[in-house]
């Protein structure tokens, strides 16, 4: 009866499913990521860089861009959570079920449109900078979280909801005490997908002056400096891995006992 781990629940795809190893193996991923990050940064300090490269690949600049990247991802993910989960709950209420296809269609558009296009269109519509980039990330990351919230709630055994109503719980109490806790694993799997996607897509924010590690990539391309481009890409990838690991730990910690 558990709502966990069914294929439908992972429609967000990819990394959501990665299991956590037990004990010390849990720490292999972050250790590896940190090692690789240190190696990459060490390379930028040790290598013989020309002045263009040095402008991008100095420590304070890398740190600042990494921090911006984390900021973009964190803010957009929090916004996605704040919108997608309540919306998912609302849409899966019995009297709103009819709206499911429409809502999913809209969310699908957000995700199936190429992120570069969405970002550039937004820049045209609302201007450039950090917040337009965040809006684009929210649109792009909405689908997995929304869909998994809906799927997670739908997969709660109807008999449990009925039992809860039958012993006198109000509809609100059933939602908070029974439905949401049971849907948590699936919802978090969706959020995990969203956050990892957003780390990658946040790289595109550089196109509209939104900041982040994408700037290294963009300037590397513009100035034909392969080292800058590679360092930017590698750091984004490593950040995505790290964020996935953190999300995995959080998911495991928040998963209700007894399931």
């Amino acid at each position: 009866m558990s709502a966990v781990g069914t294929p439908a629940a992972r429609t967000g795809g990819g990394p959501a499913a990665a299991p956590l190893g037990a004990g010390w193996r849990t720490l292999l991923t972050p250790a590896g990521v940190l090692l690789a990050a240190v190696a990459t940064v060490a390379y930028t300090q040790a290598a013989d860089l020309d002045s263009t490269e040095a402008r991008s690949l100095n420590l304070p600049h890398i740190a600042a861009k990494t921090w911006e990247h984390v900021g973009l991802t964190a803010v957009s993910t929090l916004l996605v959570l704040a919108i997608a989960v309540p919306l998912g709950v609302l849409v899966s209420r019995r009297w709103m079920r009819w709206s499911t296809p429409a809502v999913l269609a809209v969310a699908n558009i957000g995700q199936s449109a190429p992120p570069v296009g969405v970002i550039v269109l937004l820049a045209i519509a609302v201007g450039i900078g950090f917040w337009p980039a965040v809006v684009a990330l929210v649109l792009y990351g909405m689908l997995p979280a929304l869909r998994n919230t809906m799927v997670g709630l739908r997969e709660v055994d109807p008999a449990l909801v009925e039992a809860a109503r039958g012993i006198g719980m109000s509809a609100w109490r059933v939602l908070v005490r029974v439905e949401l806790p049971l849907a948590v694993p699936v919802i978090l799997a969706g959020v995990r997908t969203t956050v990892v996607h957003n780390v990658g897509v946040a790289g595109l924010a550089a196109f509209i002056n939104g900041g982040g590690l994408g700037e290294l990539v963009v300037s590397g391309v513009n100035t034909s400096r392969v080292a800058t481009l590679v360092v930017g890409s590698v750091l984004i990838a490593l950040l995505a891995l790290l964020v996935d690991w953190i999300a995995g730990v959080v998911t495991a910690a928040l998963r209700p006992k007894g399931l």
């Binding site: 009866m1 558990s2 008999a159 449990l160 009925e162 039992a163 809860a164 109503r165 039958g166 012993i167 006198g168 719980m169 109000s170 109490r173 005490r177 029974v178 806790p181 049971l182 209700p256 006992k257 007894g258 399931l259």
Partner: protein
């Protein structure tokens, strides 16, 4: 129904609070109908009374509306028309969530919340009623004891780590948490294996003996209905009551061929299962003591026109049978007859045994008679095949007059139709024959 006490409390909650330890209250359904959309009604003008403190089984094929009927009592489904009174109070006049907190609800596979411990599950209703932590903890342990689970061991377990039977015990405990006067059970044992199911049925009867709740029990299992029901309502399409009566009435006197077919063949066999030895007229054997004189016993057997006597020890416990042929030619006390004379009594049955068990004992015994013992193994009488046959015939005959009284009602059934006689008492009339000290009813 006696419902003159309805003056003060306006809600079931108030009624439950007033009563303290809450025994059952009657449930009345008056002209209740339910239709979904424009289709034929699922429940069509149903009128029935569930007497206080009884188990009434709603029995019928799937889709006959029995579950819908039950859910209208706690308003999980709202009736299209008609009235439902619980303890004389109109269910519709009460806030549904409040109402349901005072109506125990048990469903198939228990419906336990998997993310809550056993204690957490049981505590849900008390939490909603605002009990304090310590009162809830005490109540949880009390209920676990009641349903036969060791609180220390099971309190903190998650449902996943319980067997199906244990889960259902917890389900019953959860339903009883706020000591509701009424319990609704929707095929609660349907998904369990036969042995577990029988255990839980026994447990339920034991619990009911202690608690005297009003229980509405939905099942499609005829044997379960016969076993648990004080009364059974056999429902046809649209929840039309085809027959409403005690299990004995339904077996002995099916209202129409459809009931007969539904209850199934072998209704005599089912009656055997339902009837307890203490409720039938027992045979009596000539009693003898080891010290009695053989010649004297021979004379007594002759006078009683019997072929055998039962030898009892000082505590009145049956030792062995002696027949006329064993006594022939012997002399002196019965106790010193050669040990080959007569046969040791290995099998005895008690007043609580069913006639089915008695028949089984008879088939396995080497005599055509089995002794019945009461408290402390004391001999109270004997059962023969003739005893059993007569008992069954009496049950059938006793049902004859009931037919006329019941002839009135297609859509209605009122327990008074059967004279309002509790089931076992109806059989007990002829049953004194020594079984009196077994009379502690279930």
């Amino acid at each position: 129904m006696p419902e003159t006490t309805t003056a003060h409390p306006q809600t079931l909650a108030a009624l439950a609070a007033e009563d303290g330890g809450t025994a059952g209250v009657p449930i009345e359904l008056i002209g209740v109908s339910k239709r979904f959309g424009s289709a034929d009604p699922v429940v069509d003008d149903l009128t029935m009374t569930v007497p206080a403190g009884e188990i009434v089984v709603l029995l019928g094929p799937s889709g006959c509306g029995k579950t819908t009927t039950m859910r209208m009592i706690n308003r999980l489904i709202e009736p299209t028309s008609g009235r439902i009174l619980i303890g004389g109070l109109d269910a519709r006049a009460q806030q549904p969530d409040q109402l349901r907190r005072h109506i125990g609800y048990v469903i198939q596979q228990a419906g336990l919340f998997p993310h809550m411990t056993v204690a957490g599950n049981i505590a849900q209703v008390p939490l909603m009623l605002g009990w304090d932590r310590r009162r809830i903890a005490r109540r949880v342990d009390e209920l676990l004891e009641l349903v036969g689970l060791d609180p220390a061991e099971y309190r903190d377990r998650y449902p996943r780590r319980l067997s199906g039977g244990q889960q259902q015990r917890v389900g019953v405990a959860r339903a009883l948490a706020a000591d509701p006067p009424v319990l609704l059970m929707d095929e609660p044992f349907g998904a369990l294996d036969p042995i577990t199911r029988e255990n839980l049925q026994e447990e339920l009867l034991r619990l009911q003996g202690e608690l005297s709740k009003t229980i509405v029990f939905v099942t499609h299992d005829v044997d379960e209905a016969l076993r648990l029901g004080d009364r059974i309502a056999i429902l046809g399409a649209g929840s039309r009551i085809v027959q409403f009566g005690t299990p004995e009435e339904i077996l002995a006197e099916p209202a129409d061929p459809s009931v007969e077919q539904f209850v199934g063949g072998g209704s005599s066999m089912k009656l055997l299962k339902l009837t307890r030895v203490r409720d039938v007229a027992l045979d009596d054997a000539v009693r003898a003591r080891p010290g009695d004189d053989v010649a004297d016993l021979r004379r007594r057997l002759h006078e009683a026109a019997r072929d055998w006597a039962v030898v009892l020890d000082e505590e009145e416990r049956p030792l062995r049978w002696v027949g006329r042929e064993d006594l022939a030619g012997g002399s002196g006390p019965v106790g010193v007859l050669p040990s080959a004379a007569g046969s040791r009594i290995d099998t005895v049955i008690s007043g609580g045994s069913t006639l089915q068990e008695a028949v089984e004992a008879l088939l396995n015994a080497d005599r055509e008679v089995v002794p019945v013992v009461g408290r402390h193994g004391r001999y109270v009488g004997a059962v023969t095949l003739a005893t059993v046959r007569q008992a069954i015939q009496e049950v059938r005959q006793r049902r004859q007059p009931a037919r006329h009284v019941r002839a009135d009602g297609a859509g209605t059934a009122v327990p008074a139709a059967s004279g309002g006689v509790p089931d076992t008492a109806a059989l007990a009339g002829a049953a004194e024959a020594g079984a009196a000290d077994e009379a502690d009813a279930r």
